[in-house]
Subunit: 479 residues, 2 copies
């Protein structure tokens, strides 16, 4: 008999039919006559209720079918008598595949804190919250690939180990095969990197953009989806040392095309989640309400499904950084001194509080800000004619602020070299990047979406460590 | 006017209609009256022929529209007079977006060696061969995700930076933020890893399997698709320091289920390529024929499309390692001393020549070998009852030999610990791996597919450096 996944059994209307299911016990309750075993196999947020006659199976066997144990059950599908499910399985055969000592098992049939479960990342896939997150994460991965495939984009695997620093984006992890106990040195005392695996210093990539641009200069529309790294000592709920990024790059796109694509992309992803992850999102919505039940009304998050729909309903508002600064400068919270970082005028780097004010209170819509001061943006962004701002864009969302950052790129060789020199970017090392501006250069644009930022938004989780299976943070590389 | 991709223009039957296309010039030829410009935008292997009236546009402009330059062209779709294409564009407007100095441009309108193009990895996307490979690579990525999504698998991003060595799979890259010029030491002279970012030695993952198993112990069916690393000093056509792996892991699967999935998976991928990449595969097939035209008949590769169909046509042959050794021992090449590594009997580690003999000459079908001697396989593979072989499986393909390696995993806690101790695997560090065998353990299986191996097979390319955009090999981390 072939095993049927629980998600299929629960959808089945063939009462009376026999099914073989395999999975793990979540809870067991009952009385002297009958045991009710809630079983889950990871295919759905819902458990399948197994109804077992105590006399038929014996108390000893049923005692082993406790929380955490793995079972194979053959049973007949019945309309459920209880509430909370439509169907249940009346057990004919029960086999305990793997026992579980309840005294040792860390996952008790009660609520555990997210902090505790982070220490048990090897087991937390067996909980409702983390299995729901894993399934939503998968759906979002697939939606990313589907969106770009439909549009004829080519997925490019940009290198993880690199000898270039894409944007001076911060501290990097070094990658080496040198013997750290005995680093080879040159006569002048400098490290002899000719002995290292790549014959030069290398590090983990902070972005695939620069290599992505190379590919776009031949294939036109490409995207990357891979891990990126920051060795920043930030122990916050929003930072990971290792996280996944999606970076599309499009030849012949100007900033407006770029904004159109970013908006269409985000809406596609959110709609995909709503269409394909309803059960998991409902569970996560309730989880969030439960978590925040003791918060004051004005401190509660927007309800999860409502928040997702909020993104779909309207066109995103588009305005320049300069316009946004004026709005913020004249805003009530600024005048009343409620911003932690008061806005005095042009040049300020926007903080999450400002971004959220614009989205949640001023416009009540997602917002795209453009044309930021060149001083606060990266070297590769295209300078506007006035030589003061660059064609950058940031997409701002409720709750999390910036979800996408992008720009039109500087395609003019001379201007790009001048900007690099101004900003101390090593021009010679980047010969390959510059050559794309020499040989048939074209206007092009792209953006980056931090995948875990998206996951925070879609799941309503508050800590980025909970939306990636095995988070890497300062002092933490377990598993 | 909106730009239309060249792949769409070439499919269009609306002759007389005007289109705007943008792309790069591959070649230009012509006479005093008319110029023929072959344009490509990366969306297809085929160029679009632009027909330009010399008098209308002037010689100066057309001279700039040379190889490598980027153009925007508005033109009317016409039935083509020439051979090699159905339609062409009669130019109405031509704008040179970016010039290209032919004296400096490395990609001349002639055949370049693959070696030369590897040095120009930033530009090789603009060549027929590498744009075809990039599109096929994308198709295979999407096919991987589609296959597993259809089957309800969950994609898991396993960690890239890890503190464990999955299988003692070989040399690893160290990841560190310690100052290599001044490594902090403890009083006893040992490196003080408490000062390192993660507070312990870390390295780049060699496999996501062990973490994948953790996820499968809750979600049942998962797969990974991410970069993996080997710091082996192997300068061959088959080794990369950084490559991408696909590793499904399935709870409740035994070795037979595992083989069924592997066969179904490979057939799905190959069929997807045949169904979706016909133009690129035809081009790559001709490229291979051209490359091998001076080889003797018995040294030529199988024709590419024929080779792909070869995989689809039959069930894969399944036999044990022990049976295969007998076949090899009695084979003609073994008796005639034609194997570089003669087969004397049980215990021999099979080489590519043996694998290819079984597939290409003995069975003339793909082959799955199972039940290898435990001595030549990893610690986590399930021991057979006879205590001599393990439930391993290798899928062997024509041309490349092993394309997939997998096994049923040892799910018995005591047996697993005993194997780890036998093989000097640190039991305490792997507490999290072992706990899955303690709490509701289940039989489970999985396998690994090296994505670039698959790409070699599907594209017919001979060097693994040519099927990944920016290869990482000893002494090479450029771009």
């Amino acid at each position: 008999m072939r095993r049927t996944k629980i998600v299929e059994v629960l959808k089945s209307e063939e009462t009376g039919k026999e099914f073989l299911v395999k999975g793990w016990v979540r809870t067991r309750r009952g009385n002297k006559q009958v045991s009710f075993i809630a079983m889950n196999d990871g295919s759905t947020i819902h458990n399948l209720q197994i109804v077992a006659d105590v006399e038929l199976f014996g108390e000893e066997l049923l005692r082993r079918a406790n929380t955490g144990a793995s079972l194979a059950v053959v049973g007949e599908l019945n309309q459920s008598q209880g509430t909370g499910q439509n169907v249940e399985l009346l057990a004919k055969k029960i086999e305990v595949i793997g026992d579980c000592d309840v005294n040792e098992y860390p996952l008790q049939p009660k609520k555990h804190s997210l902090e505790f479960l982070r220490e048990k990342a090897h087991l937390r896939f067996r909980t409702n919250t983390f299995s729901a997150i894993a399934r939503v994460r998968h759906a979002m991965i697939f939606a990313v690939h589907s969106f770009f495939s439909l549009k004829g984009f080519v997925n490019i695997h940009t290198p993880i180990i690199t000898s270039s620093d894409a944007e001076g984006a911060g501290e990097m992890f070094q990658v080496t095969t040198l013997n750290l106990d005995n680093i080879p040195k040159n006569d002048d005392g400098a490290i002899d990197f000719s002995k290292d695996f790549f014959g030069r210093p290398t590090n983990l990539t902070v972005s695939g953009q620069l290599e992505g641009e190379l590919a776009a200069m031949g294939l036109a529309d490409i995207y990357t989806f891979g891990p990126t790294f920051r060795a920043e000592n930030s122990n916050t709920t929003r930072h990971l040392a290792e996280f996944w990024m999606i970076e599309p790059e499009m030849a012949f796109y100007d900033l407006n095309d770029n904004m159109d694509l970013a908006e269409e992309f985000l809406k596609y992803l959110i709609r995909y989640a709503l269409d394909n992850c309803a059960d998991d999102l409902n569970f996560l919505s309730n989880r969030l309400k439960e978590e925040e039940k003791n918060k004051k009304a004005d401190e509660k998050s927007m309800e999860l499904i409502e928040k997702l729909k909020f993104v779909l309903e309207d066109d995103f508002v588009r305005l320049t950084y300069t316009e946004a600064i004026e709005i913020l400068r004249n805003s009530k919270p600024n005048k009343k001194g409620q911003f932690k970082y008061p806005i005095e005028g042009y040049g300020a780097d926007l903080q999450s509080e400002h971004e959220r004010y614009l989205v949640e209170r001023h416009f009540k819509k997602p917002v795209i800000l453009t044309d930021y001061p060149k001083e606060i943006k990266a070297f590769y962004m295209k300078l506007n004619e006035e030589n003061k701002t660059v064609r950058a864009m940031d997409v701002l969302f409720p709750q999390i602020g910036e979800i996408i950052g992008g720009s039109q790129r500087e395609e003019n060789y001379d201007k790009l070299v001048a900007r690099m020199e101004e900003m101390d970017i090593p021009v010679e090392e980047m010969w390959w990047y510059l050559e794309t501006r020499k040989f048939g250069t074209v206007p092009h644009s792209g953006f980056g979406l931090g995948f875990e930022r998206l996951m925070l938004f879609v799941t309503g989780m508050g800590n980025i460590r909970d939306v990636i299976p095995f988070p890497r943070t300062p002092k933490n590389a377990e598993f």
